[in-house]
Symmetry: C2
Subunit: 327 residues, 2 copies
């Protein structure tokens, strides 16, 4: 690989001058500038980012730590993170933690030693919080709130409000007997949603009925079966997310229950699949695009020296589709 030194030699200038031409950091004699530009063009020279990064202590990379890649919600967020990063001239480097605290920490460490300019972290619970303080790198918590005052910002949808909307919607659809499929209680998103559900039940004097679940398809199947056993007269299901809503539908269909006629289902997230699926899933829309873009912009703005807001709770909406019906 050709280096700046060779470009300098070919153009008859010093490496400093080549650097200045590339980065526009100082005025350079017009003729020399053109010579340098020509040599760069001819040789296809591309400056070594590693060397640059070592000096600048900035790599123009943003690290993203995701629980897993199986959940489309994360994939969709990642898409917007990448897009915004690209626009702001950052690369992203993605790690998966498998919801595993040790791997989370390992990834965090690795990303820091890579001089990333910031880290977008979707972590599970408080464990990792303690470690955060020792790093002076901007960390944005996404979706799941660690309540760490060491991080730059926290961005998530209003999970509580979403659960309230979902519950009230089922009430408006005439459901009396409803069951909430809980997400893992060590995820803040799940905790807030549960609260929203319970508060709404209390407000409307409806019995609180729950079943433990997770955010994936397989668990969704198992939990739905359990749910039907435990609450055979259920009229409405609040699924922990869209994937689980889909698994609930599958189980109901295999038992010849009609959706929404016999039993209604509300999902959460509004992933793309929820409107592609048949029937289309009624769900709570999270502003996925905004969450992803904001995370990147927050880091970029911070790097530019701007003061950034540190807590965003974004509004969600109810999207009525085919798994519920007002009557």
């Amino acid at each position: 690989m050709i280096s700046i030194r060779e470009v300098a030699k070919l153009a008859g200038v010093s490496p400093s001058t080549v650097s200045r031409v590339m980065n526009g950091t100082a005025n350079v004699d017009k003729e020399k500038k053109e010579r340098v530009l020509r040599v760069i063009e001819e040789t296809g020279f591309s400056p070594n980012q590693v060397a640059r990064s070592l000096f600048k202590k900035s790599s123009k990379m943003i690290g993203v730590i995701l629980p897993n890649i199986t959940n489309p919600f994360f994939t969709e967020i990642t898409r917007y993170i990448e897009d915004e990063a690209y626009r702001l001239d950052y690369k992203i480097i993605i790690c998966y933690s498998d919801n595993n605290y040790k791997k989370e920490k390992e990834n965090l460490r690795m990303l820091i030693s890579m001089n990333t300019d910031g880290i977008i972290l979707l972590a599970n619970d408080g464990h990792i919080k303690e470690g955060l303080g020792s790093y002076h790198i901007p960390i944005v918590e996404l979706d799941r709130n660690l309540n760490s005052d060491k991080s730059l910002a926290h961005i998530s949808a209003n999970h509580y409000q979403g659960a309230v909307l979902a519950t009230e919607h089922l009430i408006n659809c005439g459901c009396k007997n409803m069951v909430n499929m809980k997400g893992p209680i060590n995820f803040s998103s799940a905790r807030y949603r549960l609260e929203g559900y319970m508060d709404t039940c209390k407000k409307y004097n409806i019995e609180i009925q729950t079943v433990d679940c997770d955010y994936d398809y397989k668990t969704g199947i198992k939990s739905t079966e359990e749910l039907l056993n435990k609450y055979p007269n259920v009229e409405g299901i609040i699924a922990s997310n869209d994937i689980v809503a889909i698994s609930a539908y599958k189980v109901l269909k295999s038992m010849n229950k009609s959706v929404p006629e016999d039993i209604m289902i509300v999902g959460f997230d509004d992933i793309e699949m929820s409107k592609i699926f048949t029937p289309e899933i009624t769900t709570i829309h999270q502003p996925i695009e905004e969450i992803g873009r904001k995370a990147v912009r927050n880091i970029a703005n911070y790097k530019k020296g701007e003061i950034v807001q540190d807590n965003y709770i974004l509004d969600v909406d109810l999207i009525e589709r085919e798994t519920t019906i007002r009557r």
Copy 2:
């Protein structure tokens, strides 16, 4: 951030010794070694990967260039790429090209200047091929074949065979009137599938009927509508992939056509959604996991100095589910 020099000072040794302890590159006096280890433990020191990478000319990172993140096929491959990379102690850095040649080239250049140890490339057509030669970094072409002799290896499923299986399956199901939804002809995967379809039609003396399509949901909807206009008596549809199969189903359903009774559909890829969808999609299974893992292993093995095979065409299988029926 603490550096190796400070660790050395605290442990009362030279930076060289600290380096040797960390990397196990030479024997170190037992007592000194313990002192160093203790200091590392206490300070939480983590060596700067950028500096390391600058010297070693290896970053322990593998670049992945994907056309987009919307297509679950790519997401699922990425999942296995990441997993295998993690096992072999590599990080992955993901870029999206939006099927855009300029962005592909830009990403390629960037990844190279980051000292990545290898690049996994899903590129569209031959444009980028020419550029490949000037880099002495292992590049593995995935899924889409560029026919470049400059790349380390090419790995893909047997698209031709897949199309043959799909076509013969529809024939076995009693379809006479079938239509093939073509993928973009500048993707090698689409070309091979078209060939397989056409050869099979010729072999069984069936009329070749096609309609242009792409690999995404929206185009799938449009193409299906066009298809039904052009071939109103169609009995079987070979969709360009599973997502398009799903859109075809949506269109048929909205027109009150029954699947598989009135019209059958075969997809391609066997993404996870194809068995979650209702009805479950009959499709051609690509060995997604094997493709992803092999790509990473190829690069890792090459880095270890092993000779790697340069061309893998992996077998595919027909997975019969609910969108076709033998009668």
